[in-house]
Amino acid sequence: MKIFFRVVVSLSVFTTSLSVIAEDFLIKNATIHTASKQGVLSSTDIYVSDGFIMQVAKNISLKSKHTLIDATGKHITPGLINASTQLGLVEIGAAASTVDYSTKNEQQGASFNIAPALNFRSTLIPQNRINGLTRAIVRPAGGTSIFHGQGSAITLLSERQGAVSEQVAQYASYGIAGANISGGSRASAYSVLDKALDEANYLRHNRNQYKPGFVWNFSQSLQDLDALKAVLEKKIPLVISVHRSDDIMQMIALAKKHSIRLIIAGASEAWMVANQIARAKVPVIMDPILNLPDSFESLSIRLDAAAILNDAGVKLAFTGVDWQSTHNAYLVRQSAGNAVAYGMPAEDAIKAITINTAEIFGIKNYGQISVGMETDIVVWDGDPLELTTNADVVLIKGNNQPLVSRATRLRDRYWDLKDIQNKAFTR
């Protein structure tokens, strides 16, 4: 059954007029950054039906009913994804009542699953969506355990239905943050991580002994150790925030010892051990704009780190920009652009904000402009990495998204400052 939806006609790019119920889209004559082996396709069309990409080719013509989008002179990318956000878990950073990304509940470390707390009515979702972000990885932040808990992959829709993949990754920290929570030393942090993984491994093979009432003596709660089972079974990756090059090597060794899928996040000095990371086939989540030696574990951070890692064959997924990676998660595009300004090939950078993130977190049917993918499509009014470029059309799951957010409503209310007394009636 096809999905029916209402087309918003405020955009001049639509050749249809007034509200129509449309099922299919035909996007004509675009420069398409496919984020696939196809690379960039010029003057190419995309046929979208039932929320999926049906055809990518030149000169597609359709006899069936469709909405035409003329993308002449415009660029298309998959809807963007940010690999590390807290979208849906915070409205106002300094207002604790609006923040759900961490817990002080000591029973919840690895078992802390943020998914139930996700708020799809958050103002952050439309603000990011209208700027071209259609997906995000949502992660917990550190609470009282070195394990932060389980993240979700979300689609930036304003309702939850079909928009959440829960428990796509487990999170932990090492380095300074891990040390702080483990007693003050990296050595303690290493021991806590190592022991927890050993215990979780023991428990998953001896789980039937541990019934309610059984006296147990593990370093973590039973539910936390149970939550690590998915990591040990390689169903989900363990994302460890770690910066110093030696610390990164320790975590690679730890992952090898426990035979788990590791993703390195933060990764300030990863470029120094790029070849080792590539050989270990460990993906890296990073914000390429960060180059400040803001701690003693990030001394060697630099703007061409993404280019160096990419050249070495490391799979990169980007976040950013800077500390605004949740409220302005869409600015991961700016971070990617900086990676390109400092040497990374543009199409590789676009992969790092689309398909690479999808792959390392196991998100299916998203991340490329190719047949069979869901229609996360953004039509940009210029080079998709340029800051002077804006999104003209955002399609998510076959729905054309109105380019409206609370911020655009405020903008429109105050666009002219005449007749200020009547602003209350300006909607």
């Binding site: 950073g93 700016q334 900086n338 390109v340 300004a341 002077t388 903008r411």
Partner: protein, 477 residues
């Protein structure tokens, strides 16, 4: 007769004793005549600038696209620099023989980038306990502290900012206090002392802060201010004291040389700073997000007869851009930061563009050691957001947001911030249009001296901190 601060007495004299004093320009000690009897010995402010421009030969940058900072874009133009100053900017200019020539075909040239809101040197990198020197949060009014006394000149963030084209930055105290202390404007040069970085003759600033930060911090200590109304009472109480202090000193100055010479009052560092604001010698830079708080601050400024130079952060400037234009107050803004506090919830991406469109003074600032490296990118986003909504802002205008408007707000627009004859030759040569993501500063000149060259490692400064920090034989980068 004791030494007193020159700036104070010049202003004092200009208001009270106009005809009987000869006003002396310059900042060295001097002895102008008074009513004929006593001599007044004046001394410049303590911690004077010892900045000296690096000596440099004359040069011309040719075939560049030049954004002058005065609202003009010149294509295939030249910038001639002599003795550290801009000599001529234009097409087909006369270039004396022997002048060193830089071919900038395909490249763009702008004034040096200026950040009006930096904490480089006071919240230095790496950020550890020992580098938290930006906020004297021991009392809500600490006008006695000067940011320059916290500056660590070896903050490795300074060289990174230089590679982003930043030639001048204002270092401010933090925003935890109602009145946080004096800010200082620095040239982005390597130096052993902060004095050797101080921008010559730049006025000090006074950092004030509205809203959540002071009330949250002091409220949590169980003391005033704990509310926004407490904030306002705090500012006004401080200004009332400052007025009385100024009057005491003014009367003392007035008595000098007369038969009823008064005893010299005791100096108070806190009130001295505030009195200097009232005398017009220190510029007020006011951290303030919300529209209604900005308008309250404007009324306080009117009550005590001082001028607000700029509202910093100014997330809601777009709501009151007409008032800000009328009052001639700059708005220093981020392109898009929002949501970290309630008072930052109403940010719109078009904020700076809407301020510009209202013919008010728009500035893009960083408040960040990352952001300061990319002020051109931040301005680009703010420009593009406005243009997408129907404006036609061009690079020739928008470059002012990070150059000449910034210079105006910190009181150095007569010296730098634009490419005009006799201005300091603070210049950036960009690889592309500076509003492109691909643009990188290739050459950065300060007072005509090449202080950074992306293509010449020997012209890339490294801080003391950077030396041998990760490799005993190398530098950090």
């Amino acid at each position: 007769m004791d030494k007193i601060e020159l700036r104070s007495i010049l202003i004092f004299m200009s208001k009270r004793l106009l005809s009987s004093f000869v006003l002396i320009a310059g900042l060295s000690a001097c002895t102008p005549e008074s009513n004929g009897e006593k001599k007044i010995i004046r001394k410049e402010s303590p911690f004077p600038s010892t900045y000296q421009a690096v000596k440099a030969e004359s040069f011309v940058i040719e075939h560049a696209t030049v954004l002058t900072g005065t609202g003009k874009q010149l294509d295939d133009a030249s910038v001639l620099v002599e003795n550290g100053k801009i000599k001529v900017v234009g097409n087909n200019i006369y270039v004396p023989p022997e002048t060193k020539r830089f071919d900038a075909s395909g490249k763009w040239v702008t004034p040096g980038i200026i950040d009006v809101h930096s904490h480089l040197g006071v919240y230095s990198s790496p950020g550890i306990e020992s580098t938290q020197d930006g906020n004297e949060m021991t009392a809500p009014v600490t006008a006695e502290v000067w940011a320059e006394h916290s500056v660590w000149t070896q903050d490795p963030g300074m060289q990174l900012a230089l590679a982003g084209g930043v030639t001048t930055f204002q270092v401010l105290p933090g925003s935890g206090n109602l009145i946080g202390g004096r800010g200082v404007t620095l040239k982005n040069v390597f130096a052993r002392s902060v004095q050797a970085m101080k921008f010559p003759d730049a006025p000090h600033s006074l950092k004030m802060a509205c809203g959540e930060n002071p009330k949250r911090f002091y409220g949590s200590k169980g003391r005033s201010p704990s509310t926004r109304m407490g904030n306002v009472a705090g500012y006004r109480a401080a200004w009332i004291e400052a007025e009385a202090y100024r009057e005491t000193w003014d009367k003392y100055y007035e008595s000098l040389g007369s038969k009823k010479e008064k005893d010299k009052p005791k100096k108070d560092l806190n009130l001295e700073t505030l009195a200097e604001v009232l005398r017009g010698n220190i510029l007020v830079h006011n951290h303030c997000y919300r529209a209604e708080e900005m308008l309250v601050m404007i009324d306080i400024a009117k009550e005590f007869n001082y001028k607000i130079s700029a509202f910093h952060h100014a997330v809601e400037a777009y709501k009151v851009a007409d008032v800000l234009a009328k009052e001639n107050i700059c708005s220093a803004m981020w392109a898009d930061w929002w949501g970290f506090k309630h008072e930052a919830f109403d940010q719109v991406r078009e904020n700076a563009a809407m301020v510009e469109n209202a013919k008010a003074c728009a500035i893009i600032h960083s408040d960040s050691a990352i952001g300061i490296q990319h002020l051109n990118q931040e301005a680009a986003k703010a420009m593009a957001a406005g243009n997408k909504n129907g404006l036609s802002l061009e690079p020739k205008t928008v470059i002012s947001w990070i150059t000449s408007n910034a210079a105006k707000a910190i009181g150095i627009d007569d010296k730098t911030g634009s490419l005009e004859e006799n201005k300091m030759a603070d210049i950036v040569v960009w690889s592309h249009n500076p509003f492109s993501i691909y643009a990188r500063a290739e050459k950065v000149f300060i007072d005509g001296a090449l202080m950074y060259d992306r293509n010449d490692r020997s012209k890339q400064p490294v801080s003391d901190f950077d030396l041998g920090i990760t490799d005993p034989q190398g530098e950090r980068l």
